[in-house]
Amino acid sequence: MMAFRFNILADFYWETNIDKVLDLLSDTGYRRFFLEQNYGSSLEGLTVVLMCQDPNLKLKQRIRLSKKERKIYLDIMLDLNQFMGLIQKEREKIIVEKLLSEIPPIIAKYKLEDFNVSKFEMDLQSQMSKIL
């Protein structure tokens, strides 16, 4: 049985408290949940990095499919200035919304064979919305 490794990491300034959001997500047990799922053999993993940086740095969103690893790496770009001024609940909401809205289209764009995008999208929604 194929396991799907789904990992959410971040690159952020400490005052944005994104590690607290990561902890909340982690507490939902989403990693274990996705490890038990099978969406097809063409994709074995997905790593998302929450890039919370100053937009003035003009960092580009990195999206990469590693055929060797059969894994997708992608950035979710967050605005550092915006996050510095938000309350924690708003940060959680924005991150979950971005995860739900940006990940499925990116995966779908690769037109991977035998990868069940719709099932993944449903599972993603059910797991991520646990913290809202």
Partner: protein
């Protein structure tokens, strides 16, 4: 070494503004009230030289034989008038308690309570915080600058309130995690101001090492304790002697100048001739004159300089070693102030000498260094201070003329140089991040070892535990996604915990690694060493 106070304002409209250079030393200080400028100061060479504009009059001050925290001689030049020499007399903590002029007369007397609050020198009644008198050179308690209008003392990194006995800002680090006092980050000198001083507002140091860091011998502590009697309990000198009669006052004070006695002896390099030097020093204080050198029309240099000057020239040989430890094969042990080594010192072409050696050479020949030889200028002022403390002529006009030409000569050159240098370095000071890689999930993570590129073992980390502390000069060249993802079972996330200059970031990183090791007994798994 992180933030610095930049502005103080009181309800009456008195405002003080400070700027700092990239070494975090104070660069400028401006005190205003409304639109009127009460005082403006510019500091150079770590405060050793300052230009102060007070009530429209410009004053230049040069601390000759050390920093403002330990120097005993200061030359002040007001406007275009001739420079005046003053002697600073300090207690064992380095607080300036008396200032005498070049005639041996008392120019000012100060007294402080244990926590640094200014008090009347005669009655020992503390002044009200808003009624403190201006200090002659602005400096007093432990050599720090008093902001008398605010009742505060500027200790560089932080402002200190001597009435409260507390800093106004917390220490950026817990100096001593092994002491409960260390966790009171507002405390001054570990709440022990009679034993310790805080020279920079960030680190408490032993009182005697703070006073004169370059002595470092136990005799000095004896002197310090002797001076404690002088400074703290206020033994006879200030009251029994007549400060206006130097022969009676300072002569009588000589006995109390246990500080003075060991003052000279405290210098390890003078140990061989301490007696003579001390005698000279006493003679200076008691009669305003130095040794027999005083009678000379021209400046007669200390014999040690002359010995060096007379050292037989030796051919330059190939240097062995690098940097300060460079020695010249067959040429002796390098240049030092004690006689034996001077006698064997090689006589090198000027261009081969260090700045210190060049400065000494110029003093011998009574020449001013080239205007662009800033290093030689810098050392030269120290040597003049050393020379005076060793009994050099302080009454001759020639001396002050030399100081004027040599020391204040550099003042014409150095400010522009320093300011330009500071500006250039400030521009060049890129933002550096101190980051932490932390475990994204509970799991096993690799342990990195020095000498190995790959991990040698695994360790268990809980979610959020530190895997590595690091710094990066270019935050834009960040870790790749796969690198972050593939460390350990579930990867690590990159958390920027501090942003500042390189010096700051490295210090914060080092502090965190050391704290981690202190708490856990081992380094973070991803750190191979303490930088």
């Amino acid at each position: 070494m992180l933030s610095r106070p930049v502005r103080i304002a009181d309800a009456a409209g008195l405002v003080a503004a400070f700027t700092y250079n990239d070494d975090y030393d104070r660069a400028t200080e401006l005190i205003t009230k409304g639109t009127a400028t009460l005082q403006a100061k510019t500091f150079f060479a770590e405060g050793k030289y300052e230009i102060a504009t007070e009530q429209g009059q410009e004053k230049q001050r040069l601390y000759l034989d050390g920093s403002p925290y330990d120097a005993s001689i200061v030359v002040e030049k007001e406007g275009s008038s001739a420079p005046q020499l003053y002697w600073l007399h300090r207690d064992y903590l380095g607080s300036i308690t008396h200032i005498s002029n070049n005639s041996g007369n008392l120019a000012a007397e100060y007294s402080y309570d244990a926590w640094g609050r200014l008090r009347d020198a005669n009655s020992w009644q503390p002044f009200a915080p808003d009624a403190m008198p201006e200090l002659m050179f602005g400096r007093g308690y432990t050599g720090h600058e008093h902001l008398t209008g605010f009742g505060l003392i500027h200790m560089n990194a932080r402002l200190y309130d001597p009435v409260l006995g507390r800093f106004l800002a917390p220490d950026p680090q817990v100096a001593d995690p092994g002491s409960t006092n260390g966790f009171n980050r507002y405390a001054y000198a570990s709440n022990n101001p009679l034993m310790f001083v805080d020279l920079d507002g960030e680190q408490t140091v032993d009182g005697n090492s703070g006073y004169n860091g370059n002595t470092g011998n136990s005799a000095y502590w004896n002197q310090s304790m002797a001076s404690m009697n002088y400074g703290i309990s206020g033994s006879a000198y200030p009251r029994t002697g007549n400060p206006n009669n130097p022969n009676a006052g300072y002569g009588g004070g000589g006995a109390n100048f246990g500080g003075g006695l060991n003052y000279g002896g405290g210098y390890s390099w003078e140990s061989g001739a301490a007696g003579a030097i001390v005698s000279t020093l006493f003679y200076l204080f008691s009669s305003h004159k130095g040794s027999a050198q005083l009678e000379a029309t021209n400046i007669v240099l200390d014999p040690r300089y002359s010995q060096y000057h007379a050292a037989k020239p030796k051919p330059l040989q190939k240097p062995v070693g690098t940097g300060a430890a460079t020695v010249y094969a067959g040429g002796g042990k390098g240049l030092r102030m004690d006689n034996t080594r001077v006698a064997t010192a090689p006589y090198l072409p000027t261009k081969e000498l260090t700045a210190e050696q060049r400065a000494r050479r110029y003093i011998e020949s009574l020449e001013a260094p080239p205007v662009n030889d800033y290093s030689a200028w810098y050392y030269q002022s120290f040597f003049i201070g050393d020379w005076m403390r060793a009994g050099g002529d302080c009454a001759q006009g020639n001396y002050l003329s030399m100081v004027n030409n040599m020391c204040f000569g550099l003042l014409c050159v150095i400010p522009e140089c320093r300011v330009a240098g500071v500006a250039a370095r400030e521009v060049a000071a890129v933002s550096v991040e101190q980051y932490t890689l932390r475990a994204a999930e509970d799991g096993f993570y690799p342990v990195m070892k020095r000498g190995f590129a790959n991990s040698q073992e695994l360790t268990w980390l809980n979610k959020g535990d530190v895997w590595k502390f690091g710094t990066t000069k270019n935050p834009l060249t960040r870790y790749s996604q796969s690198y972050l993802d593939n460390i350990g079972e579930f990867g690590v996330y990159y958390k920027t915990e501090f942003t500042g200059t390189l010096k700051e970031a490295l210090t914060v990183e080092r502090m965190k690694i050391l704290n981690f090791r202190g708490q856990n007994g081992f380094l973070p798994a991803g750190n191979k060493m303490v930088k």
